[in-house]
Amino acid sequence: MRTKAIYSIVLIAAIILSSCEKVIDYELNTTTPKLVIEANLTNNPDYSAVTLSKSKNFTDNNTFEAVSNALVIITDNAGNADTLKETQPGTYKPLNMVGVPGRTYYLTVKTDDEVYTAESQMPNTVSFDSISFNSINRFGEITIFPAPHYQDPANENNYYRFLEYVNGERSTSIFISNDLLYDGQYVNQSLRSFSDELNIEPGKTVEILMMTIDANVYQYFNSLSQISGGGGPNQSGTPANPLTNISGGALGYFSSCTIQKKSTIAF
């Protein structure tokens, strides 16, 4: 957020100093397709799923190939194991495994001859109390941001991830936070996005999913947010693939997290 603010200033400076933008042809290299794993195991079976797909060249279209017929197994440190079932192409669901806070979960994905593994420890639940709304005036436009309320547990490192839905549509912004500044406090920080396509207006339904995630998953989303989000100042920082917790050369993440949902009408 901080860097974004700086770049918005650079942008203003640039506009004052005159600038122009155009689409160009730039020859990019081709790539070998890589496996992409998006895996969530939560305490709510509705949100537990592993999706497998493949990466493609930049110049290709935006339809991504699902990876079917893989062997996907999740085990935990309490001796449970579950082989996930492919419910639709590329999407695998646990049959009976439900996440328990405090346990460590292990993911194994086997496709053709490759094996990918990951582990994630499910943090404790932090009670999601309510949602409030804040509005700010940004360049003459009133913008409304939702703010989840919760009590951060003291003396431990907590990491959070939020998903925001407006009238059923998901915001693609990444909302993550840690308790660096708010350890042990009652938190009601707004979910602010500088590049949000969804406009929250009074009367719209706003749903928020709150997850407690482990440090590695936080790091994944933190590094993912550095390279995504509205075209960003790509060449100012040196972009790199997000730091995955999956070994074996796949892209993506495995998160075992708690999940809570709240929904309210914006005002």
């Binding site: 700086i6 790509n234 993440y253």
Partner: protein, 774 residues
């Protein structure tokens, strides 16, 4: 142990030098100062030549002091300085003689000639290679962006020096990073030499007398940064009469006042500059934009006073600040303050002393006002610095410089505050010391040598927590140190050697080797200078960066030094280079070491320069062929990769032509290979969106950059009492769309596709500035 060894060598060398000058017949010393008759400025580098003994002479040092020891006898001494009238004095040297000379400026009759502060063939004769001297007058006619004259931007036009991007005042020397340049303003280190996110340098050209850039072998009195030293000296001010000068430009105005202090005892100078780009914001209809701010100011002060014939005191100060703000939401301000007090003392006619006490401060504040909280980030670095230097003029063939430098650093890497709590990044303290000795001596008429040795030590001090980090970059242990306790001390011996062999009277071969170390590191993940880039000292984990450079050059002048030609090559090895790991958490509160990776670097290149220095037409052509690479474990699969500032080709052509006495025109053309950048090669779908897939670090290139700038200067009035001129410039005259950024996004017209977008900043930027002096 190592230290004792060093001391023994130092004493041996010094001893040898003293002894070698002690043999021989009765000798006497001629010494004094050389100054401008009109305004009393010291003429650094003015030549003192002995007519009776060819090739014997000396040059005035940076304070205008000279000393020459000769056998007893009668001599004709010639005092000579470019664009000044030569003066000849006959003396009988049967005792030590003190002779202060005032030379009169001849440039009034030679308006068309580019004024130069150096000896005509200095490029060929000086021992050190890779030294560039720039005088504001020399570059005054080069067209500049938005009419804002900038010495640093003129330096970027030299071979071996690259700019940090479109319109940026940051620079890279011989493959080094931006933080590897030691920028000294009257001896005070300036930590962030840029304004407005890099578009302007902090150096108001009205306040600067001259700038020297050492890109090759650095003299032993300088150290602490790997790739170069940019040594800027502030104007002394006129000690003969009061005068006021200034300039009014499109985005900024300048004013300076100078005059004498006491009768012939000293002078002062005050200059100021303020930009008003933000005035345009007031035209906006939007209230938040109107409330936004975007400006900077600079203030330079300098005064000197002669206490006695042997003592002079100089006081200089600089303060500058940038303010950027977007409505009430975000505000950033940052700036430097430096001050220097110097005492020049002539101990005797052969021994000159300079004592300096220096203070530098750089800080930034960021305020982010979210709807529910206000977060501020503060970062600061402070240096308390003392320097003692002696210059001993042993004989006309032999000059020795020695001294020490001691700096106490106080670093606040960041303090993060919200309304309810505050997190302090660990404050750091360090004590940096260096002792140096260097010796200029002529072995023969053809062979000149400058040998130096610098011993640097960097003590990391408490108080604070220091960490042990494992290879997974996790903190495994924390040790707490008390205030003033030694955590770690790094000692480095830095040899410096430069050799000049005169092939003919107008050509020479120069070779050099030097080792440099750096203990203050700028951790940055951007190419342009950001106020938020973080200065971090060496710690128990961060080791001093070390560079070794060798260079070889051929220098030749033609047509009575009207034309200069040089070709230089260099190879540089760098150790303990630092970079952020992939996906680093920049706001890491405690151990920054958990976000860093270390490796090595190498840089090599070839630099050509052809320059025409005199006549109605002046200018130069410079070309650099170079390569800069890094190898850091954990980045780019631990393979070598091109550093961001790696540019294969870099060409600059500068021409200035005096059309009439009133009008002069100029042009500048530059071309360079695009910087190495990291672009995506593929893409994939995750977390509800399309995300780019990256392969090689810095595996792509920005498009090639080229640009033509045009300038014209019209003298409106030119009398001794009042002068004024108008300068016009047109930046990017043929409107080349150079890429400032290249972004990747989902196509706006067809969301099923992705596209590449280029942003261009400056095309056809005209400007006009009015300068005056009375």
């Amino acid at each position: 142990m190592r230290f004792n060894y060093f001391l023994r060598w130092t004493f041996l060398i010094i001893g040898f030098l003293f002894v070698s000058s002690a043999y021989s017949q009765t000798k006497f010393t001629l010494s004094g100062s050389i100054k401008d008759k009109k305004n009393g400025e010291q003429l650094t580098g003015a030549n003192v030549i002995v007519k009776e003994i060819p090739a014997t002479g000396t040059a005035a040092n940076e304070y205008g002091f000279y000393s020459l020891t000769l056998p007893q006898g009668k001599y004709t001494i010639i005092y000579k300085y470019i664009s000044y009238n030569t003066d000849t004095v006959s003396i009988v040297l049967d005792k030590n003689v003190k002779l202060d000379m005032l030379l009169s400026d001849a440039s009034t009759q030679l308006q068309e000639v580019v004024v130069s502060t150096r000896r005509k063939d200095e490029n060929v004769r000086s021992v050190n290679s890779g030294i560039e001297k720039i005088n504001p007058k020399e570059v005054a006619k080069i067209p500049v962006l938005m009419g804002e004259k900038d010495l640093v931007k003129s330096i970027q036009l030299l071979p071996g020096v690259k700019n940090a991007g479109e319109g940026n005042s940051g620079f890279f020397v011989r493959g080094g990073a931006g933080d590897q340049n030691l920028i000294l303003l009257d001896e005070a280190p300036v930590y962030n030499a840029s304004h407005l996110l890099g578009f302007f340098s902090t150096f108001n050209s009205d306040a600067i007398r001259d700038a020297t850039l050492y890109k090759g072998t650095q003299p032993a009195q300088h150290g602490g940064r790997l790739s170069s030293v940019l040594d800027l000296k502030m104007n002394e001010g006129n000690n003969q009469k009061f005068s006021v000068g200034g300039g009014i430009g499109l985005i900024s105005s300048r004013l300076n006042v100078e005059g004498p202090l006491g009768s012939d005892r000293g002078s002062f100078l005050v200059t100021g500059r303020r930009t008003y780009a933000d005035m345009f914001l007031l035209l906006s209809k939007d209230e938040d934009t109107r409330k936004s701010s975007l400006y900077f100011y600079d203030l330079n002060l300098k005064a000197n006073y002669k206490i006695s014939d042997k003592d002079r005191i100089y006081i200089s100060g600089y303060g500058g600040r940038d303010k950027l703000g977007v409505g009430d939401a975000v505000g950033i301000d940052w700036g430097n303050y430096t001050s220097t007090i110097r005492w020049n003392h002539i101990i005797n006619d052969k021994l000159f002393s300079n004592t300096s006490v220096i203070y530098s401060n750089y800080d930034y504040n960021i305020m982010v006002n979210t709807s529910d909280d206000e977060i501020t980030i503060l970062s600061r670095i402070r240096d308390y610095n003392a320097k003692q230097e002696f210059q001993y003029y042993a004989s006309p063939r032999n000059t020795i410089r020695f001294g020490f430098n001691s700096i106490y650093h106080e670093i606040t890497p960041g303090k993060l505050e919200s309304s309810t709590s505050s997190t302090n990044f660990e404050n750091r303290f360090a004590w940096e010391n260096a002792a140096f000795v260097s010796n200029d001596f002529k072995l023969s008429e053809k062979l000149n040598i400058n040998a130096g040795l610098r011993l640097s030590s960097f003590a990391v001090l408490g108080k604070g927590d220091f960490y042990t980090v494992n290879n997974k970059l996790e903190v495994t242990d924390t040790t707490t140190y008390k205030s003033g306790e030694f955590v770690k001390n790094y000692m480095n011996l830095e040899p410096r050697l430069a050799v000049n062999y005169m092939l003919t009277s107008s050509s020479s071969l120069k070779a050099g080797y030097f080792r440099n170390t750096q203990n203050m590191h700028l951790i940055s993940n951007s190419t342009s200078s950001n106020p938020t880039d973080k200065w971090v000292p060496s710690s128990n984990i961060i080791k001093p960066e070390i560079a070794d450079q060798i260079s070889l050059g051929y220098f030749k002048n033609f047509a009575d030094n009207k034309y200069e030609f040089s070709v230089e090559s260099y190879y540089k090895w760098m150790q303990n280079q630092i970079d952020y790991k992939d996906g680093a958490e920049v706001l890491q509160p405690k151990a920054i070491e958990t976000q860093l990776l270390f490796g090595k670097g190498r840089a090599y290149g070839l630099e050509f320069l052809v320059k025409k220095k005199e006549g109605r037409f002046t200018g130069w052509v410079g070309y650099t062929l170079s390569r800069t690479e890094k190898k850091i474990d954990g980045i780019n699969q631990s393979n070598w990769y091109a550093a961001k500032q790696d540019r294969t080709h870099d060409i600059t052509i500068v021409g200035m032509y005096d059309l009439t006495k009133k009008w002069s025109v100029s042009a500048l053309w530059t071309y360079y290979t695009g910087n190495a950048v990291t672009f995506p090669s593929g893409k994939y779908y995750i977390d509800g969106k399309v995300v780019w897939l990256y392969t090689d670090r810095n595996g792509y290139r920005m498009p090639d950059y080229h640009r033509l700038d045009l300038g014209a200067t019209c003298k409106l009035k030119d009398t001794p009492r009042y002068s004024s001129d108008l300068t016009f410039s047109l930046y990017n005259a043929y409107g080349r769309e150079n890429a400032y950024t290249i972004d990747f996004r989902e196509s706006e017209s067809d969301p099923s596709k992705t596209e590449v977008v280029q942003t261009t900043l400056f095309r056809w930027i005209p400007s006009i500035t009015w300068n005056f002096k009375f």
